[in-house]
């Protein structure tokens, strides 16, 4: 915890997920990152020392640090997404800790949706297995820009260079099937600490960075879309006070691009044009704002804009339509209903939709498409065609994770039953 009063203003935020099969060492790795970055407090350490002793374990089980709820502690498994935090002088990290069991694809998808980076764990003794493929595919489907493959338990294969290269080559064989720009590999031992925070003395042959060095230094500012300016209006601010009598501010978070005072903008769906008059915050006005800032804009002209509308630059408008093709991940025990109707939440708009067709289901273990079986069950991933009740303004998910994503809500139970990525 060396982030003191001096350097903290330059710290960046990095969100990452961890994926691995059961027992690949995910919890141990997270525990190691927290421990070696001195993010574990004495009372937390005492609590897990006590638990380890109760269970009759000989070493302090760092994995216990990340086991959240009682049911999980009792069963000794992680069953949901849990968030962990640690910081170094360079960055603050948010880990979405998700389990690797097959039945929990939904948790992995959830954790991946906001991540800048994914750590995929491989047990060096087992090499690339079916689940490795699945984890990498989900990272790619959710467009996580960076994947770091950690070949773990190197201590159990005598820190063997050849073994590491074999696994690396095997992974790279199917990398062309993935849509990820940046894939890196690190040989580690989460248990012993090799190449996690401190460079390994047992693997002189490895010349690359340690995992922590990658996490601290990987360039992430370029991952945002700064080209296509998108501002979904979340809330209209009308103070109705004497001082701000006619004030009408459009509040929202910028989902892409840069907006400057004076920019020519178009409000969607009305298509009416205006110019940005001001960008206001409590700390004063801004000349420009960019993703992911939350701001309030006012326009030169008094046009009718409400929640669910989108402000964009007039020379760069998103796609618009009612017939959407998307990849969806299904979360609910009740299968997806073809011709079924669902609530459809996309940016700040709430509408309804009908599932017109399932084009294919993805076999996420082989990455083959299945055109025959169209029942989309919990944890399935499928390509679907959807019709919305009104036109929506969207970008393909590959271009923008926020204007290209939606969730489906069951109209009877109000549960979030699926998540979609527009093609």
């Amino acid at each position: 915890m060396a982030n003191t009063t001096k350097g903290y203003l330059d710290m960046q935020l990095l969100r990452f997920t961890t994926a691995g099969s059961v027992d690949d060492g995910k919890s141990t790795l997270i525990g190691r990152l927290l421990y070696d970055s001195k993010s574990i407090f004495e009372d937390q350490m005492e609590a897990i020392e006590l638990s380890s002793k109760k269970k009759g374990e000989e070493h302090v089980n760092l994995a216990l640090l990340t086991d959240g709820l009682r049911a999980e502690r009792e069963q000794g498994i992680t069953i949901d997404v849990a968030y962990r935090y640690f910081a170094t002088p360079k960055r603050k990290f948010i880990i979405a800790d998700t389990p690797g069991h097959i039945q929990y694809t939904r948790n992995m998808v959830t954790g991946a949706s906001t991540a800048n980076l994914a750590i995929v764990l491989i047990d060096a003794r087992n090499g690339v297995v079916e689940q490795t493929l699945r984890h990498a595919y989900i990272a790619s489907l959710l467009q996580i820009p960076h994947i770091v493959v950690c070949v773990n338990k190197m201590d159990l294969v005598d820190y063997d260079e050849e073994k590491y290269h074999e696994i690396r080559n095997h992974f790279m064989e199917f990398a062309p099937k993935l849509d990820v720009k940046d894939i890196r590999f690190v040989p580690i031992s989460a248990l012993k600490g090799d190449n996690v925070v401190d460079r390994s003395k047992n693997m002189d042959w490895y010349k690359g960075s340690t995992l922590m060095h990658i996490l601290e230094n990987i360039y992430i500012a370029g991952d945002q879309n700064y080209v296509d300016a998108r501002f979904p209006v979340q809330y209209v601010i009308r103070p109705m006070t004497d001082e701000y009598h006619d004030y009408r501010g459009y509040a929202g978070r910028i989902d892409g691009g840069i907006f400057k005072v004076g920019d020519k903008v178009t409000a969607l769906p009305s298509g009416l044009e205006s110019k940005i008059k001001s960008i206001d915050t409590l700390n004063g006005t801004l000349k420009e704002a960019f993703a992911p800032q939350s701001v309030t804009m006012t326009l030169e002209d008094n046009i009718d804009i409400s929640r669910g509308n989108m402000i964009v630059k007039s020379n760069n408008v998103p796609e618009n339509g009612q017939d959407i093709k998307a990849m969806i991940s299904w979360f609910n025990e009740r299968p997806l209903a073809i011709n079924g109707k669902y609530s459809f939440k996309h940016t700040s708009s709430d509408l309804r939709c009908m599932i017109k067709d399932v084009s294919f289901k993805m076999d996420i273990n082989s990455l083959e498409r299945n055109y025959d079986d169209k029942t989309v069950k919990m944890n399935d991933i499928a390509r679907v065609e959807i019709r919305t009740t009104k036109p929506i303004f969207y970008d393909s998910y590959r271009l923008n994770r926020y204007t290209g994503s939606f969730i489906l809500i069951d109209e009877g139970t109000n549960e979030t039953v699926g998540a979609g990525m527009i093609i």
Binding site: T5, L69, A71, Y235, Y244, D280, S294, T416
Partner: protein, 299 residues
Amino acid sequence: MTNINHLRELESESIFVLREVAAQFENPVMLFSGGKDSIVMFHLARKAFFPAKVPFALLHIDTGHNFEETIQFRDNLAEKHGVRMIVKYVQDSIDKGRAVEEIGVGASRNVLQTVTLLDAIEELKVDCAMGGGRRDEEKARAKERFFSHRDEFGQWDPKNQRPELWNLFNGKKRPGEHFRVFPISNWTEMDVWQYILMENIEIPNLYFTHKRKVFQRDGMWLAFAPFMKLKDSEELIEMDVRCRTIGDITCTGVTVSKADSLEEIVEEIAATRVTERGGRSDDKRSEAAMEDRKKEGYF
């Protein structure tokens, strides 16, 4: 430069969540304890709706066992920013027979707050109560969603939470159900202090060093108040202390400290080796204490 630091990114996320609450719910309230987390949450709400006023009331569940300064600070804040401050008293729940006072050494009204809170939610027809809970505080909180659904009994079902993806928050519910929303979920204690420093946010003097009568119990320093019972072995001493959290006086530990500026507090937190909840006796009751309380409807 199109680059923001971690505090600005967290700020932006929290403002987004606060605006979602205003847009998706009809009668939201913001739970206000007078502690730094609720002060930061309120500051973020001012930012979210500027130049309009914060469009919801604040709700304080008052155990009656407060530091006097907290109450003063609370009332000043409400007046200064023109927000409605609703106060509900645990004492009233006890008088009505809705809650039973704990007795003996170590008695605390902390758990009783749940009764008063759930009654207030029902009485005021609140459909969303925002809290300053953070995921880094405690293991059970680490799985809490930003938008956390509660059934008609106010209960949390940690095994059946709605998946939360991107920035799409599902606040749909049936009549009688409500939501708890945690806008600063992703903040750590350090983030909160750095942000208070960066934004120069006013906080109660209790957070800075001051002389106070304290006594030691279970390895913690506790502040003394006249209604508290001491064991024979316990002794009152005056020391230079500051609060690391401000809650019910009976279960909030104090830190021996001479820090009298925000900079010094941040330095001190950076060097600390104990979590802030490590100073709260309510969490020490059992390893799963927080999870049990949360399921029943605690903050």
